[in-house]
Amino acid sequence: MEFFWYVVLMGILAVYLVLDGYDFGAGIIHLFFADTEKDKKAITNAIGPFWDANEVWLIAAGGVLFFAFPTLYASSFSGFYLPLIMILWLLIFRAIGLEMRGQIHNHMWEAIWDKAFGIASLLLALFFGIALGNIVRGVNLGMVQNGVSTQEAHYFFLPLWNPTFSPQANELGIIDWFTLFLGVVSVVALTIHGANWIIYKTNSALNPKLKNLVFRLNFVLLVLVFISLGIWHFIEPKPFHNFVENPILWFFPLMTFVGIAGLFKVRSFKKDGHGFIFSTLFLVGGFASTAVSIFPNVLPSTNKVNPSLTIYNTAAHEYGLNAGLSWFFIALFLVIIYFIIQYRVFSGKMDDIGYGEH
């Protein structure tokens, strides 16, 4: 049962990453590459009817985490207190940026909210990468000092950074060179992903430029991925042990590389949607590979005193998990139907159906 809910949780998170991922990417493109009013409009049109629903996947993930793995929810949300509240503020800021912009037609007003949307998207992409880095790296569970827990075994609290900026320090912080590096990987990957979405959903003049951008950034991404495989050893002495034991799991890293390889052909795809499929493969593959590499841990412990948090020692009681099944499949079925309806009605290029034209 724990494993089932773990797969559900990871599935929802992966969907969230793919969907809100392109929103963040679109925001980053908007910040750096949209020069004309027409470009900006093309970008916001491309995500207009979707971003709200995309964000719901995060809330759904939070809900499932809360009820299926309450101990993990409690310890990680209070442990990562500051970054999570800041992520909240950024989510709010990004949303009001999008909502407010079109409400008043004034140059300065629009410029302010454009920046709010772009900067919040950039920081969110960075923060989510940093968050993933923190989970992989692990934390000092129980706040152990000199071999003695000062807290219950699964509680901790991380400040934003430590003076040494090292992922192996005794006093860890949220941001160190390792987590920051993963943050950068996330920004690059989501920029590519967002660009692919814009190419897919619009006919804007930006598209040829974006294809070139994807092509060039893809080199950067490839290099970053290889470096991250290299530095993984600092965090996990045997980073591939799960893959060695279960060779079938190589499927996920393979998916990642198929994604990256495919993206190099971005300029010659016959259909605009193909780039998006490959960046989705990269994101899902990368996310799944990372999750699999620490499985069954969900939050590794960096000290020897307290055991890592796993899906087994953080799960809710059997009865509740079973009861959840009774409603989950109905809900999932409905969600898929809504999703199909939404994407069918708003199918095709967004600028073709005149959405958002003034």
Binding site: G48, D52, E55, G62, A68, Y73, H317, L334
Partner: protein, 448 residues
Amino acid sequence: MEEMLFYDRMQFAFTITFHYLFPQLTMGLSLIIVYFKWKYLKTQDEQYNHATHFWMKIFALNFAMGVVTGIPMEFQFGTNWAKFSELTGGIIGQTLAMEGMFSFFLESSFLGLFLFGEKLLGHKWHFVTGLLIMIGSWASGFLIIATHSWMQNPVGYEILENGKFVLNNFQALFLNPWLWPSYLHNQAASLVTSSFVVAGIGAFYILSKKNVSFGKLFLKTGVIFGLISSIIVAVPTGDLAAKNVVKYQPVTFAAMEGIFHTEKKGSEIVLIGQPDVKDKKLDNKIAVPNILSFLTYGNWDQEIQGLDQFEEDLHPTNISGLYYAYHIMVGLGTVFIGLMVISLFQLIRGKLFETKWLLWSLMFMMPFPYIANTTGWYTAELGRQPWLVYNLMRTAAGASPTVSSGNTLFTLLGFIGLYLLLGMLFLLLVGKIINKGPHHVELSTEKI
């Protein structure tokens, strides 16, 4: 620890108070919007469709505000109340996860269609999407009240040796006797808010001689919905909710009513008075003998337990706050019924649109349902203190153990700043929509 708990509580109180300003309008308003669209389908009168569009626009803005201020609520369970989440997450996480899966997906998927899809969908399907949004928002309210009801009156659980609450009866969460009266009371109250807003803006249009025909339509609709809902808030839902408090939380009831000492031969009802918690008495009170016993038990001489019957340790933490919150809610509720009865009377006589003083009253009454709803929520929440889970878990035991008071103060200040900005932007935009008037809302060309 004391200080941290204080900031945690302030933060939750502040963020939920601000958050609830928005859903209390959207839940009721979704019903009124569906009504307008339905009238349009029946009569083909363009005015109803324009009315639908106008209120959809206000709905969308409120909905967006509700969403962005709602996400922090879910986060705070984990960030600020980690111990509570850890121990009860297996139970209340159930209803909260259901809210995400059942309501938010429904609302967010169809809101885009409802706002921008009228031409793509045709009027009938447009009505259906509106209905689906209403169902989503009402389901959301239901699952939140179900969570809240479990905290007020825990059911279907057992407590393990390690202190964890585990669910042993899923159905019990929805058969909780606390749930249905609270839910219906809450929904009726949210309909009161939206009715008063619709009526108030109608009155504004008539008084300012702008969009007068819409003004009349809004006023008429607002008054009819307003009268029905403000009566339902009191009877039967408010009455049933109060009887639940008597039954399951008698000490809370005593504090709400300001009864410090048990009166053997029936209890008076206090209309006005200021509780003096130190000397255990009410100052300047105006009270009617024996009414409370009758209202509560249907028996004039029934004894109602006063605070003196309970150990001080079990008394609500903030007796005077609770007393005032409850009395403001009840007092305003009475005013609402009175005002709506007079308005309907004038409407039937055909004189409502000319009765200036009534139009002014309706317009200025707009903020008061918000106050009544907020104080109603405070009544429930202050009534439960010092417990997080009634009689089982103290509030102090639920806070995050590793987060220091400095951090909670920092984030509290951050939320205050951000929400002040949000509030100002919201008022600016709502003012703009109202000022433009219903004729100018063209949905197919609107942007999210």
